[in-house]
Amino acid sequence: MSVEDILNELKDIQEHPEVLLEIDSEMEIVLKEIIKIERRHLYGLDSTSATKRRNAIQELLIEKLKNRGG
């Protein structure tokens, strides 16, 4: 790889810095979705009971497992 190639690579990264972002694992994505549910139910505009909150999380888990083929 020549110096010019490296410079081009760096330029690409500068233009598209998102390529350097860490990619979340499947479980991390699910966890973020759970936290979103927590936030919506605890603080959000549709603040509800613990049972409703847990039901929403349970539904999410079952849905995710279905998509996994479980």
Binding site: L21, D24, M27, E28, V30, L31, K32, I34, I35, E38, R39, L42, Y43, G44, L45, D46, S47, A50, R53, R54, I57, Q58, L61, I62, K64, L65, G70
Partner: protein, 674 residues
Amino acid sequence: MLLQKLKLVNFRQFYSDTTVIEFSTDTDKNITLIHGENGVGKTTLLNAVLWCLYEKLTHDFERPEELICLQSLKEGNKNCRVELNFEYEDKHYLAQRSLQNTHQTHFKLFEVTDSNYSEVPNPKAFINSILPDDMAEYFFFHGEGITNINAKKSGEKFRRAIRDILGFRLAETAIDDLKEINKKWTKELASLQNLSQEQSLLIKKKKNTEEKIADLKSKQTHLADEKEIIQTHLDQILDKLRTCSHTNAKALQREIDTLINRGNKVDSNINQAKVEKQGLIKKYGWIIFGQKLANEGLDFIDEQSLKAKIPAPYDETLVKDLIDQELCICGRELKLGTDEYLKVTSLIETADNAIIRNKLLKSRSAGTNIKGRFSDFLSDLERIEKNLSKLDDDKRDISHELDEKEKELNNIDTDEVEDLNELKRNCMSELSAVDQKIGSNKRNITNLDSELQEIDSKLKRFGAEDVRISRLTEHQSYAQELIKLCGIKLDQHEKDSKLTIAKKVNETLQEFSRKDFKVKVGDDFSFFLVREDGHRVAKSKGENLLLNLSFVSALIEFAQMRSRASGDFLVSGTTAPFVIDAPFGELDNTYKKATAEFLPKRSRQLIFLLSSSHWLGIVDDTIKNKIGSEYVLVSSKTSMQNGKPDDKLRVDGKEYIQSLYNKEKDATFIEKVK
């Protein structure tokens, strides 16, 4: 949250609806300065914000039941109102709290888009999600109120609030919820029909084991709380011993402190050496067995070489040439299919060639390498063992010396020292009893955890026969994985947060404090100053205020930083305003200047409510270039002046009279400076 506008309507001394303050939202000139002499209404402004958002008032707010302006009441008007416009996550809101007929308050929150107002359905929860109620008094704080942050009762509230503002509570609730969901699935498992006896028993055992673990974990939490209380008590006793009137006792306790610190360092070195030893064995332990094989291998190669069997004494090329030429070395003909031909051809399989030579070379080199590594491994192990043995000796010496010093201290027979020693002994024995309980619970939890794992793996095997068991156990393992991941992430975030906040506070202290102390942030977000040897130090009132202000401002900065972090696990944090009424009271000029310098740097929006004695001089000089909005509170009185001061204040070359007499109404008004 950025405050934009505050409007007071007949609230306390602010008559009518003329009091409107537009806060600076500029990033550079981020200070809004409100001048006001004592009793004019600075604290009322602070309380107006608190009351509007949380329906609470500061502890020292006198006659809190009289919120409606007296002048207005005289005129028959029995209502008051506070309106606060603010910006949050690029949206605009109007919070409005009113009090009607002196006892009923109404709170409404609107999202404002252009000129449309849409009501937010659960305003209290929404405001709490931005700035938790428990945290409010530290973001909107009055004078010395902040000095109590680390006091036990207010401190607990404060620390709970920190967890809220940094979003940790969301993760903790998520873990609790996932555990509850898992419990539900265990119940479902237990209620399955037509199970074999073995399956039913196993599920019952699983349920019992989970309950036992939950029970032990809850006991652990209580024990940890108990331990913290005893530890705090012990710290106080030790502090008293370190500062008691008996010179010898004081010196002995300090020597004990030093010995304990040395002992802790030795313990930490022992742990480090043990980890190193384990790592070494894990990485190179196989060499112990490999070395025997390598020796045998090398001996075999040497022996066979000596016997000229490896490599074979004849070369592959030579054998091939003989076959090609159909003539053996001995002169016999090698005709295809003859015994001589077959015999010579079979030699190719064992003949020496480049591949065999290469393999032999590699085998020798691998064997020699293993022998070399074995000796390195042994000498490294020996070095670690020597170090461990030396550390054990050090530990024994320190422990012996510590016993001697404790005995000496215990033999001092003045009442003060005897009492403190007795309390110290009691605390230490209580601490050791709690530690034992914690240790025993921990062991029980570990055992039960492995029992549970075994049960789960048996259940999974049953899952192959019963699809219902398979489904539920799969759900449970999924939830377990998420609980584990959430726990790891939460731990990581807590550690990072504590480190970042401590770093920011230390930067402030390093720059501005006279003493060379450092701040330490405890596991529960309590914070204290420590000397180099790790011991807490007593602070003056001024230092306490400086520390608390720098802690809260570091927290504000950190929360703001986190609100910008995209893709983060908790994505919490917020841009919070810092509204401070009379923050410089306990500070001398050096600390005043320091505080006036670091607060605007750390906060996105800073609102100062200052009397002339706090502002004039060093504070004015330090903040004047950072002021984006400025007001003066003017008190109008119906009484005659009779020699009373008119409280003139010169701001930007213009003179403002802050006390007006012989006026029609008793009220406070506000004048805009810029």
